[in-house]
């Protein structure tokens, strides 16, 4: 539709950017590397797909520098599905982000799963029309990303491990600190801002509302319906599943089961039903044995 010369339409505002994140709540966002996988994800009821060349488990295995995906591959996935398509840019790599915006992706993930391009600065996300999601391991990191313009936060977990322990640690840290801040008096909030290395107005907003100013989803290590239920009960508002689906023995039924688990996360009978006979989950990794901790990337 030609918007010019008609009504006054404002695009790319914070509300419009956060709005799409609100619409993804209660859903599952799945990593896909081909149009065929994207179709499997959509057929299973995914609310969005993350288009990338290698899932985190393969990035971890292959080593080397992980970069933004080939635009041809992203376009192929956009053509294959009707749901939103996200893609990843390296931390601080604002030109990769400009390219992804030019490709008309629906959300950019400034992601620690790729090799960081800048050791001090994240992307100035206010400069873009396309919304950004960023990872966080704690409340300070989340608020710094929001101050840079992120419209969705995902707890990082440890991508590509199939191990939920880091996701739980990060969620508990973020939500635990939110709870404490709501109990703090106005004088204590100055110290909280200092300790969190986060802007005081955002700390005050968290204290008043008891939540982040943007939705918070969970990523990193989710590989079963029970994992999805766990992080949702802990307070995540939706889940990202990376390697957990397409590195399992039978992706389609597992994808559908995780979608149903994210909706019915408080109903143990439904969780029991959807967990049956899914085959082998992705092989998991112990965190202590990892050479690279992706969650440590970002500042």
């Amino acid at each position: 539709m030609a918007a010019e010369s008609m009504s006054s339409r404002e695009t790319g505002t914070p509300l419009v950017k956060r709005g799409l994140a609100e619409m993804l709540k209660g859903g599952v966002i799945m990593d896909v590397v081909t149009p065929e996988q994207a179709k499997v994800a959509e057929d299973a009821g995914a609310v969005a797909v993350m288009a990338l060349e290698r899932v985190p488990a393969d990035i971890r295995r292959d080593g080397g520098v992980a970069r933004m995906s080939d635009p041809e591959m992203i376009t192929g996935i956009q053509e294959a599905v009707t749901i939103p398509v996200m893609a990843k840019a390296r931390i601080g790599h604002f030109v990769e982000a400009q390219i992804l915006e030019a490709l008309d992706v629906d959300y950019i993930d400034e992601s620690e799963v790729l090799t960081p391009a800048d050791e001090a600065h994240h992307i100035d996300k206010w400069a873009f029309t396309v919304p950004f999601v960023c990872g966080a391991t704690n409340l300070g990191e989340a608020l710094r990303r929001i101050s840079e313009g992120a419209c969705m936060i995902r707890s990082k977990g440890e991508a590509g491990t199939g191990n939920i322990v880091e996701a739980v640690r990060h969620l508990r840290s973020i939500i635990g600190d939110i709870r404490k801040i709501t109990q703090a008096d106005s004088a204590e909030l100055f110290d909280w801002a200092k300790q969190l290395r986060a802007p005081l107005p955002l700390v005050r907003e968290v204290a008043e509302t008891g939540w982040l100013p943007v939705p918070m989803f969970c990523a990193g290590g989710i590989s079963t319906p029970a994992d999805a239920g766990l992080v949702m009960q802990l307070g995540a508002e939706a889940v990202f599943v990376g390697s957990g689906i397409f590195k399992s023995s039978d992706p389609a039924p597992r994808a559908k089961a995780i979608v149903e688990a994210a909706t019915n996360y408080r109903d143990a009978h439904i969780l029991a039903k959807v967990s049956r006979g899914l085959g082998e989950p992705m092989p998991g990794l112990e965190i202590d044995g990892l050479e690279t901790r992706l969650a440590d990337r970002g500042w």
Binding site: S7, R9, G19, G26, I83, E260
Partner: protein
């Protein structure tokens, strides 16, 4: 009066928050038992493909079709509009559309996220415009003779009513403005 919010996926929490502000008891609906208890229903924004599949998974498709046929008052926003329409163009093959309102919608008709926008919406009889937030929104491509168009944007219907069914292309739950919800719960 018990107002249900279909809570399979999407912005159901925001709808609940608006209803709570209006002192209305809002309940989340995920099962046929929960659906049977409500006097009105809100179908929120979200991904219509995902909600459609979850309606099947949770055994809600037939009970919902039945309640709609019996005249359950319902407010459908964005994805909710798609589910209530008679026909969906550019949709996902086989996604539910219950035909509660005689309208054809084009999914993502307003474009991808880069074209998501907000714009003031003039509603007939209202003193000030309503802040309309459109997120990858569906276009109401055509509406039958029984559909009352309550607001248009650039000549395209964006807020419509047919009997007790109210639909919008935009998201009143994202606005700090309760008028559409209030009007929905107060209508006969």
């Amino acid at each position: 009066m018990k107002v249900g919010v279909l809570a399979l996926q999407g912005a159901f929490g925001l709808h609940e928050r608006v209803l709570n502000r209006l002192d209305v008891a809002a309940v989340q609906v995920r099962t046929p038992e929960e659906l049977a208890e409500v006097d009105r229903l809100v179908i929120p924004g979200g991904e219509s493909t995902a909600i459609s599949k979850l309606l099947d998974a949770n055994g809600l498709a037939d009970p919902l079709a039945g309640r709609l046929a019996d005249g359950l008052p319902v407010l459908g926003t964005c994805a909710g509009l798609i589910l209530l329409a008679a026909e969906v163009v550019d949709g996902y093959p086989g996604q539910h559309c219950f035909g509660a309102i005689d309208a054809t919608v084009r999914r993502n008709g307003y474009g991808r996220q880069s074209e998501s926008f907000h714009a003031p919406i003039d509603v007939e009889g209202w003193e000030s415009p309503f802040p309309g937030v459109f997120i990858r929104a569906p276009v109401i491509a055509s509406a039958g003779p029984d559909v009352e168009v309550l607001a248009e944007l650039d000549g395209v219907p964006v807020l419509c009513r047919q009997g007790s069914v109210v639909v919008s292309s935009f998201h009143p739950e994202l606005a700090e403005d309760d008028r559409i919800h209030r009007w929905f719960i107060e209508q006969e």
